[in-house]
Amino acid sequence: MDSVLTVNSLTMNFGGLRAIDSVDLEVRQEQIVALIGPNGSGKTTFSNCLTGIYEPTEGDIFISPTPGGRRRINGIKINRIAEMGIARTFQNIRLFSNMTVLENVMIGRHCRAKAGVLGAVLRGRKTRREEQEIVDRSYEILVRTGLADQADEPAKNLPYGAQRRLEIARALATEPFLLLLDEPAAGMNPRETDELEELIVRIRDEAKISILMIEHDMRMVMSLSNRIIVLDYGEKIAEGTAAQIWENPDVIKAYLGEDFHGDA
């Protein structure tokens, strides 16, 4: 299967601190890849490099939004990368909390809309048709993520689990080929986690979106991921399937703790 994201020996320095040290990573089409590691191992820095928030010190990031089309995206502006089709959610929820649920998703459609300022002022037929289309598509995404009933609520009034789903809905609205989920299950109860798992699988299977996930919930990582990559102190210490990672002594030592199997 074709790769949609290829990262070659990515290094990120902050002054004298090396946060990521020469990490390779590949995500193939319609795969779910998990990036795990203890706190401070460089996972979030890694995703900040992918979405243009940081410009990597060394290494290359290539994306292939369409099969065959390959492009290096180091140092490209954040909103351009979003337009190219990488969307992400955050560890701590960052919704536009004073806007309604529907508006949050509509903002995500923004970069796919063509009408400019003049169109917005004159409100010609084309602009109005496009705006209607944005509303329709956004509503459809809310239906798919189970938020349609709350469409007109301010985002800040939603319960926690629903806010996390709305973050995913907003990311989907940008029509990404690759979705980056930064600890999507953080703070969720088991029932909400189950619903989230189901949603992630549906996104991959129905919308054909590849997923790179940073997650601490081991049960979810093990059951969803096609491949798992383990970071520790900015270095990749292991890569493989759930079963391989589960057996890897380095991983158990660095990340899960010496006695993990005994506890579980």
């Binding site: 979405t51 928030i53 502006k77 954040i78 909103n79 979003a82 337009e83 969307a87 992400r88 955050f90 960052r94 536009f96 909390s97 004073n98 806007m99 508006e103 509509m106 903002i107 995500g108 923004h110 970069c111 796919r112 809309a113 009408a115 300022v117 917005a120 705006e131 944005i134 907003r170 990311a171 609205a173 940008t174």
Partner: protein, 308 residues
Amino acid sequence: MSSGPRFDMDYFLELAIGGLTRGSIYALIALGYTMVYGIIELINFAHGEIYMIGAFTALIVASVLTMNGMTGVSVLILASVVAVLYAAAYGFTVEKIAYKPLRQAPRLSPLISAIGMSIFLQNYVLIAQTSDFLPFPNLLPVLPFMEPYSHIMGSTELIIVLTTALATAALTFFIKFTKLGKAMRATAQDRHMAMLVGVNVNRVISNTFIVGSALAAIGGVLIASHIGRINFSIGFITGIKAFTAAVLGGIGSIPGAVLGGLVLGWTESFATGYVSSDYEDVFAFCLLVLILIFRPAGILGRSSVQKV
């Protein structure tokens, strides 16, 4: 000996309408301050100068048209349109030159840059035009049906108040319902996140300056017609007053800017009418101090949570 203030109803109404008119213009200009602050947390000190440039442009266009024999409402409309476009171009350019390169700098840097821009634009107009006050023709039409009420409210006052109401309503609609308006609100709440969902934040900021400057130009045409004379420094004191209005109402809030403008206008009008016209500015700024002591976030402002 002066006979002291009058206390009859007509006088009260006259002061109330005078305050409303004055407040409307403060509000129009305050909207520009508040929009820019809401989006990039910058006090755009050059905003008063944009308003002054709008007034000058209108004067030049109106003079040329009148010399060529044009009269009536068409002069007003043409002069206003050119003033709005010209001021919007200035607002856009000022942002690109003075603020955009400092987007990542500490917050004090763009503030200093704004003050520099303000001084530059004042002196530029001083050299290009003149330091004298220039007479400004009243471009606003006289409405015959207002004739019987002219001792309380003339056509000029009515037109100013209606224009402000209309402009505020249009702006509210624009921000609430259009795509660009949504992008503005998203950028104001979380600039980084807006970029991550594909909003071109630089374009949103440019458009904010364009809209704010256009409103300031409308204010410039109205106030110049009302007062009847302009010079290069009118932007300074009006700018400070409008900024006061924005802070009074709660900076960053659009209804706040309008409310702040009106409260300031009424305070000045009643204070000069009932106490003394010598202390007009003193009352305006005393009000500001009081509000800042008792409601630091302004009348409609939410207590500010420092954005990370």
